[in-house]
Assembly symmetry: C2
Homo-oligomer: 219 residues x 2
């Protein structure tokens, strides 16, 4: 019997690619997904997540996280305008919620524990432009250890995109027949559909498709 | 200048002792506290937390966590009756929320990051009767690593009670002059004040004071 896997799913390009990677690896009957309703500025992400999960035929649970906004305003939960530069003295983009992926992975692990799943799949990438420290290999490995110890339960965190550029992620999605799902995915920081094409997320997405020599099915 | 410290605070006996330990070590002006409103059955915990923080003269932030109840019912968030036995096949008490302390520490770390604090203090104990895997030294050390890597920010997690029996925790509280605060602390699983004296938490608390040869100021 194949293992069951839980995909951390945002309805975006990377996690959609991961969802199809997991279906390819574990089989669609063994894959489920979890998304987080954490006060993101654009609920359209969750709309995309639901549509794609339905298309892929996997169960999606949406877990609420009320805590981020209480930690203080930031670009993804507050009303601050998205900036491309290094808004904070840390040099991180101001879309950074400290430890956001740690929280997502820890809640996903707790959820996986309650339903008997050991394999977690997340679309973090070191090759991403962002420089988020919670997307690095070392962080993920350390977290895998602390989650396994902390719940006395063996977790494996799969990061299929960890070394992939946006171009290679696009090519992987193509290979996995994920393009119809990518047509439904959400990327734009400004919450626009069709995408604004001007925000850093749209520009990065376009760059990946351009370099792969493929047309973004989002249109 | 002394470091600033953030104490994970529940209003219970152990975290109250830790609060006074932190005040002793870092100085009261450098200590603040964070508590979590996570759907616990007895809000009296947070009432105790507020009273004790006020008595100690430290700032207390209460962060909401809405996620636990969505992970499935359990004795501390649901309506299930507290049992003393091993309610689940895991052999853990049914007060176990998988990864609860990992979540608390990760949110506390995110909060500490936003306010420029590197030192976290938590009252977890390996000597505790519970056997919670997220209270063990190895887990805390692994988490310290993943938090530090994941936020690119050096955290130190202090666990002054990690090796202490309940008796020794009582003696430490006495030495730190924490007894007036302990009079306001909350322990009873059944949410009673005065405490029921019959639940596992009350029995464990009483055992500690009895073995220390001291009278519990809670009365």
């Amino acid at each position: 019997m194949k293992n069951k896997a839980l995909v951390l799913f945002s309805g975006g390009q990377d996690s959609t690619t991961c969802l199809y990677w997991a279906i390819d690896k574990f089989g669609s009957a063994s894959v489920s997904a979890v998304a987080f309703d954490y006060g993101q500025r654009h609920k359209i992400e969750l709309v995309s997540a639901k549509k794609i999960a339905k298309m892929a035929g996997v169960k999606l649970d949406i877990l609420p996280i009320s805590t981020f906004s209480a930690l203080g305003g930031n670009a993804l939960t507050g009303s601050e305008k998205v900036k491309t530069g290094n808004a904070k003295k840390t040099g991180l983009p101001n879309t950074f919620v400290p430890g956001r992926n740690l929280i997502f992975l820890t809640f996903a692990a707790a959820h996986a524990y309650t339903v008997g799943i050991h394999d977690l799949v997340t679309g973090v990438s070191e090759a991403d432009y962002s420089g988020y420290p919670d997307c690095r290999k070392g962080t993920i490995k350390a977290l895998e250890t602390s989650l396994s110890l902390g719940m006395d339960y063996k977790f494996k965190i799969h990061t299929p995109l960890i070394n992939l550029s946006k171009k290679k992620t696009v090519l992987l999605a193509k290979k996995l027949n994920a393009f119809p799902a990518l047509a439904l995915s959400h990327t734009c920081y400004n919450g626009k559909r069709p995408p604004c094409g001007k925000c850093p997320a749209c520009i990065l997405r376009k760059k990946g498709f351009d370099e792969a020599g493929l047309i973004d099915p989002i249109g």
